[in-house]
Symmetry: C2
Subunit: 413 residues, 2 copies
């Protein structure tokens, strides 16, 4: 078997996972390297942060995904610390090295504070399970603090979400629902309904990449839920006690969440090729790195015109890279990657959402319901689909949230 | 309302929760103080540690439990740092004080290393959600480490569980099942089935408080599963690389778990009354503290002859204390507490268990199934019952575990 091509995939997100799956019947050996032992269904991460779902409802062991795929030879848990394109080797943090004939780099993105890294301490972003549990602890804890110090309730129960992309909109909606519905009749000294949720966005619209008509609808739905929407407004300061906007407005708040932007994974730099200003690798139209036809960069780490940083694009890229490897092995020419936009969906809260399927646009209950159905469809694992379905059905009927527990005192590792 | 008796309950475990519920129709005001915002169903905690269940499947917000109970006036999240029986006040860690007419102290127990506190660093015990997630991370991580270092697999895949009470037996069985079933065909460099699970017990039997015939059956079932059972053997040393028994036997192991004993919550000391050698408060036959008829100590913190430290006893004590408060208010005499032993059940793994209902004793599938049914019955919350039922059914059919994710890099706060 030494003659089989060795494909190394770094990152088991949507792009890497789909690349590996699509290589199932291709005559190669696949090695997958990831920092974590699970694939994370990131679009539902905000539901963990907002106490609706459990971590493992949206996480699935990578090894289990590939249990039946014989050509996935190795799954390695580790950090990649170096990539040598000439020697065709990657180095891991434990000192080991792995050789490749083809390399797929799909390590995604993390949140970006646009140079204001000092914001991070006060305004956590949402990219990992740990982020989500930390945010959940922060959100739930302020209600408990306010119950003990009702005189400080106004500041304690003011939540600021910075950034009105899908994650920011979803978080703002979810926090409002916690305050309005989930805790009804459960506090004696405060009224959770008195909580203020303020969504701050720099662009003139919420969901700025959506068509304007849907952005307007999303804003109206957010406001009908009780979210205060401030657009066209940048954040100047985030500190211990709140947020100051560029226009001088001060908002006293104990809980500020950051959903304002992403930057690419630092692994892009290890390739030694041209990056865009957010750190993404500028790839050829076949998703390969300029000058290295055997190296693909996929998903949020890749910069290709007109391809957005969303899960469906990452999945399509993964499948495309696998196809090109097969083409190479069969001596066939490569086809360029073409992104198929299947539409966009965002949810705002209970029975609220917006949908943009090109010619068809809609909002409200139907958009929300479509969002639920599609997300369950794409979740990995029968148990996870079933448990999420039940959790959502139960939450819809009972107005409660299934994971309202404050956990996470750090332990030694 | 100033004339209504104020009942303060410290601890919302089985005893405290049942006391508060049983006070529902009694003309008192109830205040509940707990460190956590949830009631934890501790008998299933080992299932979180062994990746079968999620934390919130076995945890339920205390506020939600009492949403419909008007006389629960306050639920306070905090640590009790002082109890003044003369002034009838408790002090919280935030400096606040709460007055009581009746006080119920039910803060349970924690694991005890019997003076060998240096063991704790190497051999975590299982009492909190955080303990369980830490143990889960440790167990799952060694398989990943062994995959990368197969030459160290022997030590890495040796698990030692110290203590063969119900928790130790359940943990040993669960780890064996993870190794045998859940990871089948998922590793390339190691065979998870090669894992050794060693259960060490100081007494001559596993499940030492059970009848001897059932202890023998439990041992046979453990061994049929593949667990190595060492009885009559004490642990001398636990260090970085393993365990040394009193007889000099050395077991090299990366993962040692402590299930060998409990000691009472330190709050017992704050009462200034007589304690037994494990720190439990020696109570009167009506569960009150000697000399303080208005102060009850319940659950694992109470020492009363012939009452074991198990969940059913704690529940019965909670209900009894509530009854006595009602008797007092109605000017009726108090009845002593009588523990009703409804039997004991322990599970050992898939379709294995032992049951002791006095005259009826049985083991195997029926004991296991009874265990499942009773635990679902007593779980709080419809969603939790349903999700646990599904998780168990799915695990039984698929041989997999629903929460096999390695999480928990500590975060600030």
């Amino acid at each position: 078997m030494p003659n089989r091509s060795q494909v190394v995939i770094i990152g088991a997100g949507f792009a890497g996972l789909n690349a590996a799956k699509s290589l199932k019947n291709v005559d190669v050996d696949v090695t997958i390297v990831d920092r974590r032992n699970f694939h994370l269904f990131q679009p539902l991460l905000y539901q963990v942060a907002s106490a609706a779902l459990n971590p493992s409802d949206i996480a699935y062991p990578i090894r289990s995904v590939f249990r039946g795929q014989a050509n996935v030879r190795q799954i390695l848990l580790g950090d990649v610390v170096g990539i040598d394109l000439e020697q065709r080797k990657i180095s891991l943090n434990d000192g080991s090295r792995v050789s490749f004939d083809y390399l797929i780099v799909a390590t995604g993105a993390t949140h970006s504070y646009f140079g204001n890294e000092q914001f991070e301490e006060h305004a956590p972003g949402l990219k990992t399970i740990e982020d989500a549990l930390y945010i959940r602890r922060r959100i739930l804890s302020v209600f408990e603090k306010a119950e003990k110090n009702p005189e400080a309730a106004e500041e304690l129960l003011t939540f600021v979400v910075v950034g009105a992309g899908p994650t920011g909109v979803e978080m703002a909606g979810a926090i409002t629902e916690i305050a309005i519905h989930s805790m009804e009749h459960e506090f004696k000294n405060i009224d959770p309904k008195s909580a203020r949720v303020i969504l701050v966005e720099g662009a003139p619209y919420v969901l700025p990449v959506y068509p304007e008509s849907l952005s307007e609808k999303a804003k109206a739905q957010l406001e009908s839920l009780g979210v205060e929407v401030i657009t066209d407004s940048l954040v100047e300061v985030i500190d211990d006690t709140g947020v100051t906007l560029k226009d001088g407005t001060r908002i006293e708040s104990e809980t500020v969440l950051w959903a304002a932007g992403v930057k690419a994974s630092p692994l892009g730099q290890a390739l030694g090729v041209e990056l865009d200003k957010t750190g993404r690798v500028i790839v050829e139209d076949d998703l390969s790195v300029p000058g290295h036809r055997n190296v693909f960069v996929l998903g949020d780490l890749a910069k290709l015109d007109d391809v957005p940083g969303v899960a469906p694009a990452a999945m399509q890229m993964g499948r495309h890279a696998a196809k090109l490897i097969r083409s190479d092995l069969n001596g066939k020419p490569r086809k360029p990657f073409r992104y198929k936009d299947k539409g966009s969906l965002a949810t705002i809260g209970r029975a609220r959402g917006v949908a943009d399927f090109g010619t068809i646009k809609f909002s409200g209950f139907l958009a929300w319901f479509s969002w639920l159905a599609i997300h369950i469809w794409y979740l990995i694992g029968f148990r996870n689909k079933l448990v999420v379905l039940i959790s959502w059905a139960w939450a819809y009927i009972s107005f409660r949230r299934g994971a309202r527990i404050i956990t996470g005192q750090p332990r030694p590792d």
